[in-house]
Subunit: 300 residues, 2 copies
């Protein structure tokens, strides 16, 4: 007989306007059957770790979709069996039935890697940093790199990948302790608190007197506008997110796009899902670089 | 003895603010020696045809730099000799000493091609359309293509290249006779007058109910903003120019850049100079396509 257990879920009431507030979400408890439905090729997982990622802000209503680490509870899919450890995109709930198992990745656990890393360094944020920096920006030794929201799960890795590539890298963040982390732990060449800069253009000129080759954009808005005036010829902008805009009723205008032509800029918006086929390649890279990388599991 | 002749020039007084007006320019007449200076590897040309191109608006002061067709008068460069017909970027004047002859292209004149075409179809605007459409946008059969300022020297060719590639192509222009040209002569699938559209988003949705794969942007501003909301996933935007912005004191804001991420858009600003090495390839293509192409020498 199918076993039923309770399944706690965090649900969004409605599409969130402005900054998300606690009343926008509620906790509910339903039940879930611990077997996949007859004939389904889905995979039932128990969520061990859930992350709260900026990209979730762009989602509509219903269950939040964080990245996760889970053991398979039951599987109707021949690629997965009970007990497999997997990570992927799931719901903010205790158990999830994944009907598109191509978004799940099996992991081989080793004791020296915290399991929670599969919601960060070894999961979606890590792959985002990897794809956005290496695949979108084609970095080379000596390039100047600017990263906004640089202490976040993605930004902190972009900076370290840039350093390991031989680039000069500067990050921005919005709090002193984050700026300190960037300089002292994440090995950025320099960092600044954008909230303390009256003139972002002047700040960028201070750190990049010769201009920026690569901008890894996590914020959009005013910072993007200032960056456009500081890009070098043939500069590349990877647009990973625009978090400065997500909570605004009316997005800010970006005024300096003419610089796209003047400076022959490539600007590419990307979603990590397009690059998941590179995950094995990414794991190999991290395997080699692991001892050089500082990963802060709690920083967002 | 070196022969001196008069050299009439059109000169910009200063960097132009707002719409260019006649007093912003003046005509002057100096003299020019009809030999290149001793030891120079420059090329002296007599300008036969000069074009007036939108990109000139972005230039600073001093001589205007149109594209041109010229015979060589004297040459200190072994690649060119007296009497060669060349096109390239020169000054708005009767004679120009070109000190960077790598921007000059020799032509073989044939009687069935008007010489003036080397300031258009067979010159800089043609190469711009070719590079921007084929090299930047990677078009394929069935793609939906939108071109703004579509009756211009560049846009009219982009539309025809798109049709010859098997794309569906719609253009916008700002006057009825231009719209008629687009539909009747330049073989666009459809065209509209953007000045008659209250809601650009609605206009684009009318012509592209399934969205836009490729946007060839000549105008920037409000049209770009509306296009961003109508791009298909992995859409490509070639930013050739932003003429709606050149005469504004303060450029308009583009508010919908978040769509870059949501729709994974590639937006590439380009200048034709990066692609001039492809000119022989382009000439070959036009050689094959010539009978299919309608070129309007006067339209801008």
């Amino acid at each position: 007989m199918a076993i039923e257990v309770s399944n706690k879920q965090v649900i969004l009431r409605d599409f969130v306007q402005g900054f998300p507030k606690e009343p926008d979400m509620y906790v509910t408890s339903g039940t879930v059957t611990l077997t996949v439905p007859e004939g389904s090729s889905g995979v039932l997982v128990k969520n061990l770790y859930l992350s709260c990622d900026p990209y979730m802000r762009g989602r509509g209503t219903a269950t939040l979709t964080p990245s996760t680490l889970d053991p398979v509870v039951d599987s109707g899919n021949q690629g997965f069996k009970e007990g497999d450890l997997v990570w992927g995109v799931t719901g903010w709930e205790e158990y999830s039935l994944i009907t598109t198992p191509e978004v799940l990745f099996k992991i081989k656990h080793s004791d020296d890697i915290p399991l929670s890393y599969y919601t960060g360094l070894l999961g979606m944020p890590g792959m985002t940093a990897y794809a956005g920096f290496f695949e979108v920006c084609s970095p080379k030794k000596g390039d100047t790199v600017f990263v906004s929201a640089a202490s976040g799960a993605v930004g902190q890795l972009v900076g370290q990948f840039a350093k390991l590539t031989g680039c000069y890298v500067v990050g921005s963040a919005g709090r002193k302790d984050k700026v300190d982390l960037l300089k002292n732990k994440f090995k950025f060449d320099d960092a600044f608190n954008y909230k303390e800069e009256k003139d972002l253009d002047a700040a960028l000129k201070r750190y990049f007197p010769e201009g920026i080759d690569i901008y890894f954009d996590n914020v959009g808005g005013k910072m993007l506008d200032a960056v456009l005036f500081n890009m070098r010829m043939h500069g590349r902008i990877a647009v990973c997110g625009m978090i400065s805009q997500y909570n605004l009723q009316q997005p800010e205008g970006v005024h300096n796009l003419v610089q796209m032509v003047v400076r022959q800029i490539h600007m590419v918006g990307f979603l990590v899902h397009d690059y998941f086929q590179l995950y094995p390649k990414y794991l190999n890279l991290i395997d080699q670089l692991y001892i050089f990388i500082y990963y802060n599991d709690n920083e967002v």
